[in-house]
Symmetry: C2
Subunit: 319 residues, 2 copies
């Protein structure tokens, strides 16, 4: 029997009652994957579907955490609650309730309307691509209406995870081109809002022209959303309100145009496809061990079966 | 009904009767994969298990084809027959009975004791990793006792394919280090015999010292096979007999030490594992389309099922 401290049902009830350590524990279960994560998912699912997700990505050092902190401050000033998931694929053991190294985020550590959590996979075999939507559904079911998904870098995983939000904010700096050259196209593709952070530095105007030009070249249809470009100095809190305004404008456009429904539908199908592929991969690993496997391999080695016939037999009733 | 020209059974009978164009057609079926390839496999399997395979790999320009041609000449002078599969993963449509661009190999084009065939995947979804052993089994069943698997480059696929032979020959040139830097470790790992081709060029001695030193560092146990280093000038046919002698010596060692049996057993298990994984992948692609899939995705989108429960349902009876 699961200890009460790790029983998903009891943790879920405690989290609902406002116990923050229970939320942290539930997210740890999601990170670890397996049956406990699925139990959390079954509990969360019926009450999810109400949160709006904002992805926030950009090169290391672009000021994402500082901007996120400023956004939290702004959202709280509007009276809304917010949860932040900081996704760090490079760290297998980031876990913990509060990001100790993120000084500015600690400003919000004692605010019950804010929940901040760093996330890695910690053994979830489906990786962050599967763990992140599960974590979002949990926070959603616990009543968070805004979930910010901040990713730590601009690699493929980060762009993939941030790009699956309802609105994606790409943070760049003056002279950004060089630092993200390798993934510029990927960032252009997922951006719904561009933020030029550290806009008080030299080159901010050139960066804006650069972005405008790329948007011109991308040949958007007349009724499509054209990502606005917002200048911020996050360390001073400047521009956070404009960023949030741009997020709300995109949400409005995505909702009225039907784009939000299409995007969520695509995401649901994509997640299901990944779960199916992942489950079959697990099944293959299970099949290729054990006595039955050893016997069949021995038969193939002894030329008593051809390998494709042997595979058919392994997979009888399965594939 | 399959046309007689493409019916695996009739082609197999014709190939057995010595019709070379039938062999070429059977290999084309193997390259394309799917049910016809499996039919060829079922025909070939009972009579296979007698061929000895020699893998031959090295950087482009190392002189592999020229050396292969010289080896063919030597093997024929001993009265043996030989088949050559030239594996080219970069070319999706290399296929054809004889390699027109390989002038030296054409020396053997009219010799009924030699069969040369270039191979790519041409649609075999399992790739060359699965198509190559199928092709080898076919040539084996058609009575070829020596099958040389020559790979065109030193990428991961080439090293993987060549490294699955009974004896693997790695061909280098004086000053080889730079050209294969990226995959030196991979080549060291699979080599049973090293050939320094173009050994009349400057730097041959240094290359030999280099290889000897790497072998010293690899810390082989006292009774293990230490790859001999053979110098050749393949364009002049020089050293081909020494290479073949080294292959035969390795075969003798592998046979008497039990290494050959272990290697083949490992290979059989590995192939079976790849077939199982490949088949499950195909099944996943099938499952994630069609009416049932659309209905389940719609339910997930409408929050009527959680995605993991939906995946369970898709996979009911499967995984």
């Amino acid at each position: 029997m699961a200890s009460p401290l790790n029983d998903p049902g009891e943790l879920f009830a405690a989290a609902r009652a406002g116990e923050r350590s229970a939320v942290a524990r539930l997210l740890s279960l999601v990170e670890r994957g397996g049956e406990p994560a699925r139990a959390v998912g079954r509990l969360a699912h019926p009450d999810s579907g109400h949160a709006y997700t904002v992805g926030l990505t950009g090169a290391p050092g672009a000021g994402k955490s500082t901007l996120t902190s400023a956004l939290i401050g702004h959202v709280r000033s509007l009276g809304d609650e917010v949860a932040v998931l900081a996704i760090d694929p490079s760290s297998p053991f980031t876990g913990g309730a509060i990001l100790g190294d993120r000084v500015r985020m600690q400003d919000h550590a004692t605010d019950p309307g804010v929940f901040i959590r760093s996330m890695a996979t910690r053994g979830h075999l489906g990786g962050l691509a599967l763990a992140t939507p599960e974590a979002v559904r949990l926070l959603d079911a616990l009543g968070r209406r805004w979930v910010v998904i901040e990713t730590v870098g601009v690699g493929q995983v980060e762009v993939e995870v941030a790009g699956k939000a309802d609105t994606t904010v790409v943070v760049v700096n003056p002279g950004w081109g060089d630092s993200v050259q390798a993934n510029k196209a990927g960032l252009m593709e997922i951006a719904d809002v561009f933020v030029i952070n550290k806009a008080d530095r030299k080159g901010a105007d050139a960066t804006r022209s650069d972005l405008e030009q790329m948007l011109d070249l991308s040949d958007l249809p007349p009724d499509a959303w054209r990502p606005p470009i917002v200048a911020t100095v996050a360390t001073e809190g400047k521009g956070a309100d404009d960023v949030w305004q741009a997020v709300l404008a995109h949400r409005e456009h995505a909702t009225s145009s039907g784009e939000l429904v299409r995007r969520r539908a695509f995401r649901a199908a994509e997640e299901l496809r990944q779960i199916v592929a992942h489950r079959l991969g697990e099944r293959a690993r299970e099949l290729c061990t054990g006595d039955r496997w050893d016997t069949i391999v021995a038969d193939v080695q002894a030329q008593q079966r051809d390998p494709y016939g042997a595979a058919d037999e392994m997979l009888a009733g399965i594939a």
